[in-house]
């Protein structure tokens, strides 16, 4: 039905002539140009892949940074200015004091300790006033603390 011999007008029976042309030497550089474009696209894709990873992680990183900021802004003031922390500091101070006493005690042998307690016992006792004695008894000090007090 559509056989071209039957329908083609006269002017179409001759082979078609290409009326277009290209700039001079256009075809010479196509290989280099296309390889250059492919290389560029490849580099761009590699870069966009890493950007894509960053883009995907961006909300998570933002959230993590926000949490870190809130932690820093809220935790440290609470830590350093809360009453509990002040008590904790005092406890820490007395503990370090105890450590110091223990160190002093370890440097003193038993005989030195006894002689230190009983030397000038009379003089010491005579110097003690009843008020001071009562004060001593009411402080509930440990032996170590009493010894330290005497030494000082």
């Amino acid at each position: 039905m559509y056989e071209e011999e039957n329908i083609e007008p006269e002017f179409l029976k001759q082979p078609g002539k290409n009326p277009f042309r290209t700039p001079d030497n256009y075809f010479d550089s196509i290989e280099d140009r296309v390889m250059g474009t492919i290389e560029f696209e490849s580099k761009k894709n590699t870069a966009s892949k890493s950007n894509k990873i960053f883009r995907l992680l961006k909300p998570v990183l933002g959230l993590a940074a926000s949490f870190a900021l809130v932690y820093i802004l809220a935790y440290y003031p609470i830590k350093y200015f809360s009453p509990n922390n002040l008590v904790k500091s005092e406890i820490t101070d007395s503990a370090s004091q105890m450590d110091e006493y223990s160190l002093n005690l370890s440097l003193i042998d038993e005989n030195s300790l006894i002689s230190a307690i009983f030397n000038d016992e009379t003089d010491t006792l005579s110097e003690i006033k009843p008020d001071e004695l009562l004060a001593y008894l009411s402080t509930e000090m440990t032996d170590l603390e009493i010894y330290t007090e005497i030494q000082n």
Partner: protein
């Protein structure tokens, strides 16, 4: 390296891929360019589309299953790229135009690389008024002398439908020529 099968095997091997692709481009660049040029009509557009086509071929070579020849496959990519390009260009740059055909007429008139005479210009204008499919079939049959069977593979259309398209295209071209220049076409 001129045999398509040899080129294809080298393309599948990463170590010889680039060299094989260069051979492929060298072998088919002119045929692809002229096919594209007859669809988009303007050299600058044809150059853009040829670049896009070759990049698509490079990117798709790993998935090419050799169900058709590498040339048929490349020709199909060039055809699709040309039609896509025209539709995109028309949407982007010429929103006032009614269809692709008006863009083609503008393209044809602005092309500095047109060497045809008055009759050839008239014929190209007539071709520019055809719908996409008829324009493709007319160009492939009339200028490239491609057989319907090969055209059928490239355009993925039955031979009967292609013959019908060509028949309608010829009628429209003839009518356009008679209307615009009664003395030339007779």
């Amino acid at each position: 390296m001129t045999d398509d099968q040899q080129i294809l095997e080298s393309l599948k091997d990463p170590s010889t891929r680039e060299l094989a692709f260069r051979h492929l481009v060298t072998k088919y660049k002119e045929r692809l360019y002229w096919h594209i040029r007859k669809i988009v009509m303007n050299h600058d557009d044809a150059d853009d589309v040829l670049q896009n086509t070759l990049i698509k071929i490079w990117n798709g070579i790993e998935t090419f299953r050799a169900e058709s020849s590498i040339f048929t496959w490349s020709y199909r990519i060039a055809t699709n790229e040309s039609i896509t390009f025209l539709n995109q260009r028309k949407r982007r740059m010429m929103p006032g135009l009614n269809d692709v055909n008006e863009y083609l007429l503008e393209n044809l008139e602005s092309d500095t690389y047109f060497d045809g005479d008055e009759w050839q210009l008239l014929l190209q204008k007539a071709i520019a008024t055809l719908p996409d499919k008829q324009r493709l079939v007319f160009n492939m049959k009339y200028f490239d002398e491609i057989k319907y069977e090969e055209m059928s593979e490239i355009l993925e259309t039955s031979v009967g439908a292609l013959k019908a398209s060509y028949h309608h295209a010829v009628k429209k071209v003839e009518e356009y020529v008679k209307t615009h220049e009664p003395g030339i076409g007779s």
